[in-house]
């Protein structure tokens, strides 16, 4: 039973995730000055959906905040408030709080109440300002919904007075008749329920059991009109039901409100069998099937403590400064009341992985896959029938296999398309990272996103989040200068960071470009020397100096700030990107900014490879890195004084790498390349080229990438391995590493400098 509930909750959180993305998108559009009606409506809808869902799960914290948020957005929607940058900023902040609250409800960290309150006040200030003299809504922490509540009272009273419920004044209160008294809390009205519904429900029950109900309204608690607080609930009702009515059916009526309404059910009008509000926890237990009962279980407990003040206490609990909430803040996640409790209970550990294991896919992609699999079945049947033919059908067979090959490839593409996801989800999260970094460093930075629709394998999308967060924080903290410095340098005071994604030659390229001060190479160099990362007399190119910031333990920040400066960030970034089979390059112009380029493989599973032979064994070179192939021409090969060779290809010189000896495998003939050898011109991401000498080119094929690092150490020049058609293992070459090695060797500088840069 609770398993079903978890499933529904899970769906709710997934939807929240989507709504939050929608919200983020809308607010970004707003901040770009695009304040069309559609945009505002989309934003409003997103918050509204979150609120609606949260309410049906009884996630009080979330509902309360979403409500305030929604009210403010309503001001925007109705045109009372104009979306000025200030206001959009407030909304963005509120969105962060909202998404944190969602995370909290999911069992994440408890959100700081101060932050919620701050954002709430800001939100209310918006409609406060915007609606000018609109009186009743300004009542501080009271959500606008409260206002209609007293109005709702009227019809109830009227209904009662006019005997709408089929009340018969003289209905005999049998000795065994069932007496139900209930007093709703203000929270019940807030939730959109009404005492009227309960009365109708009770009278229905009475009618169903062949009797009528007798209703009395207790107005004793009602103060004089002058001191009446509109948002409080003062009334309670006493309903006498016929004896035939079983208690269970009465419980059913109160199922949905048991946590926000005091109910007493007694037989025989007189001797109360100690049911009163103690019964409620039990009732809540009984009603586990309905969503609120679980999360709200602690509330009745509070009610027990102060039954008389119940309505007050309930409305009190709505202000974040209330005692209950203070306790909540002090006692972090586990046993606290309200939303976190039911989720923390039991399956926090299991929920997250489960959530990550699901994927939402466009239906047409799944359909494509389905079609292809159908084709595959047909192809298999065709092969089978050929196999049964008398004459062997050699020719036919080859043809079929060829078409099956295309099919396999299509299926593979289709599966990858299913796994592919736009990087948007990660990119949009970065907006928040930048916002937070800005508020911590007191800088004003605008993050522009480009190519969010670029699709990458899902595993990659998830793993990109951490490195990008690090890099963007760094960009705000170190890259962008303070506003004064910027103005002094003749730049606009607002910093710009561009985060873009795109496909390039079978890889995904992500660039993070800021218009800050660029890398201060002298300072980097000095720091590197000071920290012993390089020798004091080392001579480095600009590029190598830039790369020093990736060295472990490197940090130029003179003081460790909240954001960065601990000297772990960039090192971790580099490791993470390398771990994904990617590479990081830096381009920095002093005074104009820094650009980081991350180049990542599209998928972690398959690559197009060229099968070559070196030292007698077959190896795989990723096709994407091969520029051209050619036969060796001895006239074009020159030997450098240190013994290395360069080859001139149409005027361009590049290092010549005899692959076999480069990999330390024997079998390479001494005396330079022979006539049969083939040259493979390869290129790394930054366009540096080298020529590999291989013995032969066998084939071109798709290969499945298999990790060897799990069972073996990392090998330089080899990125992974694959299994060929004959079952043998073949190594996949790490071309950029080979090129880098070769270029390094041709270099004139002493080798100890370079080894320092190996990291």
């Amino acid at each position: 039973m609770s398993g079903d509930m978890d499933d529904i909750l899970l769906v709710f959180f997934q939807e929240c995730e989507e709504q939050l993305q929608e919200l983020e998108r809308g607010l970004s559009a707003l901040s770009d000055g695009e304040s069309g009606k559609e945009t505002i409506n989309a934003v409003f809808r997103a918050v509204h959906s979150v609120k609606g869902g949260a309410a049906s799960f009884g996630l009080e914290n979330l509902v309360r905040f979403a409500h305030v948020f929604e009210s403010s957005l309503d001001g925007l929607r109705s045109g009372r408030v104009a979306p000025t940058p200030e206001i959009v900023k407030t909304f963005l902040k509120a969105m962060d709080v909202l998404s944190d609250l969602v995370a909290e409800a999911q069992g994440g960290a408890t959100v700081d109440t101060g932050r919620i309150e701050e954002s709430r006040v800001e939100l209310q200030a918006i409609i406060g300002e915007g609606s000018g003299s609109a009186g009743p809504k300004e009542d501080d922490t009271v959500p606008a919904d409260f206002a209609p509540v007293p109005v709702d009272f009227e019809p109830v009273m009227a209904d009662f007075d006019f005997g709408d419920f089929g009340v018969e004044e003289d209905a005999p209160a049998d000795a065994a008749s069932l007496v139900v008294t209930f007093s709703p809390h203000a929270a019940m009205y807030d939730r959109g329920d009404d005492a009227r519904n309960l009365l109708i429900g009770l009278s229905d029950v009475a009618v169903a059991h062949g009797g009528t109900s007798m209703v009395t309204c207790e107005t004793a608690a009602l103060p004089a009109l002058g001191s009446l607080e509109t948002e409080k609930s003062y009334l309670s009702w006493r309903v006498v039901l016929p004896a035939a009515v079983p208690e269970e059916s009465v419980h059913t009526v109160f199922d949905w409100v048991s946590d926000v309404c005091d109910v007493t059910i007694t037989r025989d009008g007189g001797s109360s069998p100690g049911s009163s509000s103690q019964e409620e926890p039990a009732e809540a237990q009984a009603a586990l099937a309905e969503p609120e009962a679980e999360p709200e279980a602690p509330v009745p407990a509070a009610v027990q403590a102060a039954p008389v003040q119940a309505p007050v206490a309930a409305s009190h609990a709505r202000t974040p400064t209330s005692i209950a909430e203070k306790i909540m803040a002090e006692l972090p996640p586990a046993p606290t009341p309200a939303a976190t409790a039911p989720i923390a209970a039991g399956n926090t550990a299991t929920r997250r992985p489960v959530e990550q294991a699901t994927i939402r896919v466009d239906l047409h992609r799944v359909d494509d896959l389905m079609d292809l699999v159908g084709e595959l079945v047909i192809a298999q049947a065709a092969l089978e029938s050929i196999g049964q033919r008398e004459d062997g059908g050699q020719q036919e067979m080859i043809k079929r296999i060829a078409s099956m090959k295309t099919l396999t490839r299509d299926i593979q593409d289709a599966v990858m398309a299913v796994r592919a996801q736009p990087v948007r989800s990660v990119f949009q999260r970065m907006q928040r990272v930048v916002r937070e970094a800005c508020s911590m460093t007191n800088k004003d930075v605008v993050l522009t996103l480009e190519g969010e629709d670029t699709e990458v394998d899902r595993t990659l999308v998830e793993k990109l989040s951490d490195p990008l967060t690090h890099m963007l924080r760094n960009a705000v903290d170190h890259g962008i200068e303070s506003a004064e410095t910027r103005i002094a340098a003749g730049k606009p005071p607002t910093g710009q960071i561009l985060l873009s994604a795109g496909h390039r030659s079978g890889r995904i390229l992500i660039t993070i470009k800021d218009d800050g001060g660029g890398i201060n190479r002298e300072r980097v160099l000095a720091t590197a020397v000071k920290r012993g990362i390089i020798a004091p007399d080392a001579v480095l190119t600009d590029d190598e100096v830039n790369n020093l910031i990736f060295a472990p333990g490197f940090s130029t920040a003179s003081t460790v700030s909240d954001l960065s400066g601990r000297g772990v960030g960039m090192d971790v970034v580099k490791q993470a990107i390398l771990g994904l089979g990617g590479r990081v390059t830096i381009n920095s112009v002093e005074g104009q900014g820094t650009t980081f380029c991350l180049s990542l493989p599209l998928t972690l599973a398959v690559l197009d490879g060229m099968l070559i032979v070196a030292a007698g064994s077959t190896m795989v070179v990723p096709v994407s890195s091969v520029v051209e192939t050619m036969m060796v021409n001895h006239k074009d090969i020159y030997m450098l004084p240190d013994g290395a060779n360069v080859v001139s290809i149409r005027g361009a010189c590049m290092p010549l790498i005899p692959l076999a000896s480069e990999l330390g495998l024997d079998g390479y003939k001494a005396g330079g390349p022979s006539e049969e050898d083939v040259i493979l011109v390869v290129e790394n991401e930054s366009g540096a080229r080298a020529a590999l000498i291989v013995e032969d080119i066998r084939d071109q094929a798709q290969v499945v990438i298999k990790s060897i690092e799990k069972n073996y150490r990392q090998m330089s020049g080899v990125s992974a391995a694959t299994i060929l058609g004959d079952g043998s293992v073949s190594l996949i070459l790490d071309v950029p590493a080979l090129v880098a090695n070769a270029l390094g060797r041709i270099d004139t500088r002493p080798s100890d400098v370079r080894t320092g840069l190996a990291a």
Partner: protein, 151 residues
Amino acid sequence: MTDEAGADTKLVKMIVFAVGEQEYCIPILSVREIRGFEKTTALPFAPHYVCGAINLRGIILTVIDLAVYLNVEPLPDNPRRVVVIVESRNGTVCGLLVDRVIDMADVNLADIQAVAEEDSSLSGLVMIADRMIGVLRLEVVVGQLVGGMTS
């Protein structure tokens, strides 16, 4: 002494194999399977005792020539060489190329006579039916494979 066994079980089932003239044993629970020796793919910058990589139903693993590793003379032209696929406790899978697998034996841990060196690949020696058998410390052998990066 061996960390290959639980605290209370004194008897450990070992698989005994021969490398050259010498016999060695490892706990049978660390053995995944035994298969014939096939052609391996040479690995760059590999230590000299690594024969290369093989494909075990989709898992790529390296094969260690125990004769080279332990520095003993292998039997010449032995067609019965087999690869013992072992899995070390940290999950690393690798193959050990041995000359032949002899049998299984119950070894009482108390009977193992420790050898002096702490980090040696032999954790001790044990007598089984008058034969002196070395007890291999798998973690050390396999650990060196995954260890540091070559450059």
